[in-house]
């Protein structure tokens, strides 16, 4: 119990876990400090509600505390606690959605999606977004874009691209097929890309609908049609 605060803060997660398992609260507390911001951000992205995200944080760390004696370090502490947090958040979401929770699990035809992101705007960005807008504005833009996604796409994107789960982990977490994970992920990525392009595009570099690239009119038109048929089909 007598490891100094400073010494604790310098330790790797793995060492802190070992200390916490021996009963050192300071070590556990440091682990919480280290991971709470990331997990809170994930929970906010999933639930889009502060109270719910706070509840998820509290249950996550209580569960981590309770199961710490069984933690054997097969995965890193970070991965382990992230898994607890995302499962907890998804359960809150299922409960909150009530009857709709079924839709999280069932295999639905993707045609039912309300929002289909046609790649209308194809343009390179005018620079690094974190340099062309202020941090606060960037966050607003990212929030706005992601909260406009249908829930099914949003969840897949968050689990896969934000939290960094694999396709099969995402499939298991949401109880949908891997094929559905992939389709939803593609739609989400395309939709977000499109929204962000509206904000960050370099108008000089926009490919207009009638624009033919490389002097190949046929190729350009067919690309557009194929994009659309792929997304709607």
């Amino acid at each position: 119990m007598k490891v100094s605060d400073l010494a604790i803060q310098k330790k790797e997660d793995q060492e802190l876990v070992a200390l916490a398992q021996e009963g050192n609260f300071g070590a556990f507390d440091t682990l919480v400090n280290r991971h709470e911001k990331r997990l809170y951000s994930h929970a906010m992205r999933i639930l889009q509600n502060r109270e719910d995200a706070e509840d998820v944080m509290q249950s996550t760390f209580i569960k981590a505390m309770e199961h710490l004696p069984q933690f054997r370090g097969e995965a890193s502490f970070s991965t382990w606690v992230t898994r607890i947090a995302s499962n907890t958040a998804l359960n809150v979401l299922r409960k909150r959605n009530g009857l709709e929770s079924v839709s999280l699990n069932e295999i639905v035809e993707e045609n039912e999606e309300g929002f289909i992101p046609h790649p209308e705007v194809i343009a390179d960005w005018r620079g690094d977004p974190s340099k062309i807008v202020e941090q606060r504005e960037l966050q607003e833009i990212l929030d706005e874009a992601i909260s406009n996604l249908p829930e099914k796409q949003r969840l897949v994107f968050i689990l896969r691209d934000v939290i960094g789960m694999s396709i099969s982990e995402t499939r298991d977490a949401l109880g949908i097929s891997a094929a559905n994970v992939k389709v939803r992920l593609l739609r989400a990525r395309l939709a977000l890309r499109e929204r962000l392009t509206y904000r960050f595009e370099d108008p000089q570099k926009r490919h207009l609908k009638t624009h033919s690239h490389d002097g190949d009119e046929e190729k350009s038109t067919s690309a557009k049609i194929l994009f659309q048929s792929y997304l709607t089909g």
């Binding site: 009963g23 609260f25 556990f28 507390d29 919480v32 709470e36 911001k37 990331r38 809170y40 951000s41 994930h42 906010m44 992205r45 502060r50 995200a53 706070e54 944080m57 509290q58 760390f61 209580i62 505390m65 309770e66 790649p119 194809i122 343009a123 390179d124 960005w125 977004p129 974190s130 960037l138 966050q139 990212l142 992601i146 994107f157 691209d161 934000v162 960094g164 992939k182 992920l185 593609l186 990525r189 395309l190 977000l192 890309r193 962000l196 392009t197 570099k205 490919h207 690239h213 490389d214 190729k219 350009s220 067919s222 690309a223 194929l226 994009f227 792929y230």
Partner: protein
């Protein structure tokens, strides 16, 4: 490879989960098709912006409450373990 094929494999390419041979075809197509190249580039940038996203600050009063709750729980669990 056509634009359609490329779109179908966009995820696999972006996630680098693609056969080396197909990857070469993919890259040949990108060299000759600027719209596809721009879509791939801006999708990558989009993912990067959201990745490792830690934009939300934990509200300070919640942070304090959380750590107090955990401290109380910890103590309680320790005391119970001692009794057993």
């Amino acid at each position: 490879m056509k634009c359609e094929d490329l779109l179908r494999m966009l995820n696999d390419y972006v996630d680098q989960d693609i056969d080396p041979g197909i990857c070469t075809d993919f890259e040949v197509h990108l060299k000759g098709c600027n719209p596809c190249k721009v879509v791939v580039d801006t999708i990558r940038k989009t993912i990067r912006l959201y990745k490792n996203d830690e934009v939300y600050e934990v509200p300070i009063e919640f942070h304090d409450r959380l750590h107090q709750t955990l401290r109380d729980r910890w103590k309680k669990t320790m005391d119970e373990n001692k009794e057993n």
